[in-house]
């Protein structure tokens, strides 16, 4: 495919700017007819026009905002892995158990969690060899739970955006998104959920959950 070149579409082959002018209706009738005829007979110009139409359509629809951090990280990881050696492609994801180190319920009575309208938050903290994990559990009005968590990697080189999945018998609740501080949220989570998996595409932490206990 030959890219349109030349400085003007008035006499010679229309250039990219002239094609854009034509698509945007900025040419007079005579110029527009000439461009239309040129596009009709030149596959390279048709390809350029198709590209311009696609670009303008995308620009119309594109929200001027960055994709969510998790999506950006996943895309960058995909592209990065794609462009690197096969050995890197074959590197397995590291899966580590996260061990519960702190549970605020051990120091608080059951009624303190369930009774008040503004229920207290349960705090859990887990540790693994590569990252720590902290979780705050909020009780929702319907009895299910909202889990807000944060992964705190030990090394800075760990990809910072994590997604989480709470599982249990017939249960799978995933995060909508995570942020670049390692924070994520899950809601609503049934109290029967008994495991939490938190991963960033390279590292997966596996944490046991006991949500029935008040």
């Amino acid at each position: 495919m030959t890219a349109p070149t030349g400085s003007s579409g008035a006499a010679g082959r229309p250039d990219f700017g002239t094609l854009a002018d034509w698509l945007e209706g900025r040419l007079d009738a005579e110029q527009a007819d000439r461009v239309a005829a040129a596009v009709e007979r030149d596959p390279g110009l048709r390809a350029a026009v198709d590209w311009l139409r696609g670009f303008m359509r995308c620009a119309e629809a594109l929200p001027l905002r960055t994709p969510p951090p998790l999506i950006r990280q996943q895309l960058r990881q995909h592209f990065g892995r794609w462009s690197k050696a096969k050995a890197i492609l074959e590197q397995p994801v590291v899966r580590l158990p996260a061990v519960l180190m702190f549970d605020s319920r051990l120091d608080r009575p059951l009624t303190a969690v369930r009774g008040a309208a503004d229920a207290e938050v349960i705090h859990l903290a887990y540790r693994s060899d590569l990252a720590d994990l902290v979780i705050d559990i909020h009780r929702l009005p319907d009895g299910r739970l909202r889990l807000e968590g944060q992964v705190l990697p030990i090394e800075d080189s760990v990809a910072p955006v994590f997604e989480a999945t709470a599982t249990g018998p017939g249960i799978e609740v995933r995060t909508i998104d995570g942020d670049e501080l390692g924070r994520f949220a899950l809601s609503p989570v049934p109290i029967e959920a008994d495991a939490l998996q938190v991963g960033n595409g390279e590292l997966v932490l596996l944490a046991p959950l006991d949500l029935r206990r008040g």
């Binding site: 990219f16 002018d21 311009l52 670009f55 620009a59 629809a61 979780i135 909508i176």
Partner: protein, 91 residues
């Protein structure tokens, strides 16, 4: 520890879906190509095609301190660079 404000930050600010007809991958590729353009081209294309207020050539020319007649040719060159960047990123 987790901040209380994370509730608003997660659920309210992050869109669950991109614009209709586009995937997040489309948007990320376009976004990254825009970032790779030299600033004058990036700013011009953003003004011409992404600004919801659709400024006129005259307004853009004033903003960029360029003659109105120079906007069209510059736009053509910038679109061509953008196309080159997007083609580079294609498999």
């Amino acid at each position: 520890m987790i901040r209380r404000t994370s509730r608003e930050w997660l659920s309210d600010e992050v869109p669950a879906e991109p614009a209709p007809g586009l995937s997040w991958e489309d948007i990320a590729v376009l976004h990254d190509a825009l970032l790779r353009l030299a600033p004058p081209c990036r700013e011009l294309l953003l003004a011409l095609y992404f600004d919801p207020e659709k400024p006129s050539y005259a307004e853009i020319a004033a903003r960029f301190d360029r003659p109105v007649g120079g906007i069209g040719p510059m736009r053509g060159r910038c679109l061509q660079r953008m196309r080159g960047l997007l083609d580079e990123g294609s498999p």
